[in-house]
Symmetry: C2
Subunit: 239 residues, 2 copies
Amino acid sequence: MIQVDGSPFAEHAITANSQPLDGVKLLIPVVPGTFYCAGANYRDHIVKRAAHHGREPKFASRPDIGYRANNALIADGENIVKPADAGEEFEYEGELVAVFGKTARKVSRDEALDCVFAWTIGNDVSERGWQSSDRANARAKNCDTFKPMEPWMMTNYDAANAHTIIRLNGEVTDDFKTANMIFSAVDYITEITKYATIHPGDVMWLGTDGMPRAIVPGDTVEVEITGLGVLCNPVVAEA
Amino acid sequence: MIQVDGSPFAEHAITANSQPLDGVKLLIPVVPGTFYCAGANYRDHIVKRAAHHGREPKFASRPDIGYRANNALIADGENIVKPADAGEEFEYEGELVAVFGKTARKVSRDEALDCVFAWTIGNDVSERGWQSSDRANARAKNCDTFKPMEPWMMTNYDAANAHTIIRLNGEVTDDFKTANMIFSAVDYITEITKYATIHPGDVMWLGTDGMPRAIVPGDTVEVEITGLGVLCNPVVAEA
C-alpha cells in the first residue's frame, strides 16, 4: 500500500512511502460534507416490508433523497453496537455508495456520472421500531456505529451491472442487482442538483433491496458488492 | 477585528494582524460535521400551523432531532434564492443555534450546557408545500441558500432568557421568548447523546415559534436574537 499525500479530490502526490496492507488500520474513505441517502429505492424491499406490516406498498414518485449523520460512521471491521434499548427489528441494509468528486449544480443526465469520483459500500443499519416513530430517523438510523463504510473507493466502476450479496454469519441472506433500483444514481444526481450544489467528498447511499434479517450481538454481517470488496462488521451489545 | 490563527475549538493564537470590520467579508462561523435541527419545538408554532391546515396540533413526546444539509448554508447578507418551482408558502424561520465545543456521549443534564461552545442565529428557510411531500425535507428545507447563518458566535451567553425578533422589510412579524421551547437545549443534548457522539463544530438549531410569513423576491428578512446580533438576508428569484 503506497502512501499518497493530499486529498483524492484535489492536489495529491504519490510518495516513496509504502506499508504492508496488514500493518495499517483502514479507516472510512471520506467524512462527507453532506451525507445523502436514498430510502425505499428497490421495489422488492418496499413490497416485502409493506406485506410484513400488512399494508399496501407505497412507491416514491420522484427521487426524493434523505440524510444520514457523520457521528454514525465506522470503518470495516469495527463493531456495530446495538443500543441497550433497541428492539428486535435491528437490521442491516447493504447499499451501493457513490462518492462525489465535483462541485456541481443543475447537472444533466449525460453529465451525472461524471460527478461520481468513485463507488464504495455502506451498511445502513436500522432500528425498525424507531424508524416508525422518529421524525427524521435520527435514532433509527444514526446512532453511533450504525453506518459502517468500506475503506476502498473504486474509480471506473460499472455500478449499474453490480450485484449486492449480504452474508449473515457466513450464510447468504440477500442477493440483488443494483439494476433493480427504482431510481438510478443518474436520477438522484439530476434531481438533487436541481436544488442543491454537490461537493467533492459528499456521499450518496443508494438504498437496499430484499428483506433484511435482524442482527443480534455475536453476529457478523458482510456486505459484498461485486468488484468493490466486502464490508464486514461484528455486532455487539451496548456495554 | 483581530485575526486569530487555528480553530476556535482547539489550539489557536491571537495574531498581531487586525482589519477594519467593514473591510472583511464575514462568512458562516462553522461548517458542521453533523447539522442537527429541531422541528416543531415551540407550542404556539405547532398550534397555529395546525389551525392553518384545519387539523389537531400534534406535539412530539420526546426531543426528537432532525438534520439539515451543509450545501444550504449562506452567510449574513447573502441572497436567499427562491427556486423557480417553489410555491407561495415560502417562509423564514428564525432560530437560536447552539454550536458544540466538545466531543461527548451520554451527557448528564448538569453537563449539557458545558458542551455548548457558543450560540448564534440561523434562518431555517422552508417551502411548506414541499415540506408536506418530501420524505426528509431535502428540498423543503435544504435547497442551496436555505440556511443563512450569523457570523458571530457568542460564548458565556444566557440563551434561556433571550428573545427572538423577526423583521420582514423592517416590520416586526414575530417576537418570541426562547424560554417557550417545548424541549430545551439541555433536553436535546441529553437525548441526542444517549445515542450519538457530538463533536466540536456540530451545530444544533432549536426551532421557531409563531406563524412565519411568506417571503418573496425583493423582501429582506432579519432575525435578531437579543445579545447575539441580527442576521439579515435579501430574497431573490432564481435566475
